[in-house]
């Protein structure tokens, strides 16, 4: 099985924040932590693009590399998780992450940072699957229930795809080839191979005529 990955199709994202709400509700996320956020570029300008961002579950995670107490681990499916009992709340992973995924609750007194919290790909943590302890610390373990992340399954436009990386990439590829748009963002040549190497040539985006 391939690594678990997210892809957010910015052509379809309508900034409804359904993914954000689904995540918060599903995992009872602490106050001040946004495991998933929607980022909008050129907000308010025609042609604005939105993308839903959470932990990218990097193959070579910088958070894991810098943690002084080695509380991070990666599952066989490529999901990057951590043990809150080992976490000392230093915040170094938050500095290291280029996506701002590791976050800290704001309900601490005197600026107490507390334990790091981040997107778990709905895979819980190192407690027993489905246990109350796991829910209280990490949120629901949907992977153990045979489901996929709540954010991706709840997406109203199917912009946010989450699951097996091969399947998710295949779904996105089908979309791009069908609508002839959207390949330019994700590095088509890197993902699917340049035509000289046998890959499919990227679809050329249609020029948009202004409607006045």
């Amino acid at each position: 099985m391939a690594r678990m990955k997210f892809i957010c199709d910015s052509e379809r994202c309508i900034e409804c924040n359904g993914c954000v709400t689904a995540c918060k509700a599903e995992h009872d996320v602490p106050w001040g932590v946004n495991r998933r956020r929607v980022v909008t570029l050129n907000d308010g300008v025609p042609g604005e693009k939105s993308i839903s961002v959470a932990c990218m579950h990097c193959s070579d995670a910088p958070c894991m590399a810098v943690c002084p107490v080695d509380c991070f681990y990666r599952t066989d499916e490529g999901v990057v998780l951590h043990d809150k009992d080992v976490c000392i709340g230093c915040g170094y992973c938050s500095y290291a992450c280029p996506f701002g995924a590791p976050q800290f609750p704001t309900n601490g007194t005197f600026g107490l940072r507390g334990k790091m919290d981040k997107c778990t790909f709905c895979a819980g943590g190192p407690e027993a699957n489905g246990s109350q302890a796991e829910f209280e610390k990490y949120g629901r373990n949907r992977l153990a229930e045979g489901k996929l992340p709540a954010c991706a399954e709840m997406c109203s436009t199917k912009a946010l795809l989450g699951g097996d990386g091969d399947i998710v990439a295949d779904i996105f590829r089908t979309r791009v080839l069908t609508r002839n748009k959207g390949s330019e963002i994700w590095g088509w040549g890197t993902a699917y191979g340049k035509p000289s190497q046998g890959g499919t040539a990227p679809a050329q985006p249609k020029t948009e005529t202004s409607k006045s």
Binding site: H82, A123, N129, G130, K147, E153
Partner: protein, 74 residues
């Protein structure tokens, strides 16, 4: 005599300043998703079992995000 008393007193006082054992220092080992799965909230039709069953469940559930399975593509 005085020196011995001072030495004994300081030994008793400093003996209380030992370093306390640290808390948890090694992370717990995580279970695989198909092990000990919660039956209460399992997806309909999914029974936790071996790795193969879980992987095929993941693959079939993933296709629910592909609406081209339900609509005709151009």
């Amino acid at each position: 005599m005085n020196r011995a008393a001072v030495f004994l007193a300081s030994a008793l006082v400093l003996g209380a300043c030992t370093e306390k054992p640290q808390g948890v220092t090694t992370r717990k080992v995580d279970e695989k998703p198909w092990e000990n799965a919660s039956a209460a909230y399992a997806a309909p039709g999914f029974k936790a079992g071996d790795k193969g069953a879980w992987e095929s469940q993941m693959r079939s559930r993933n296709q629910a995000q592909n609406e081209y399975n339900r609509t005709a593509t151009r």
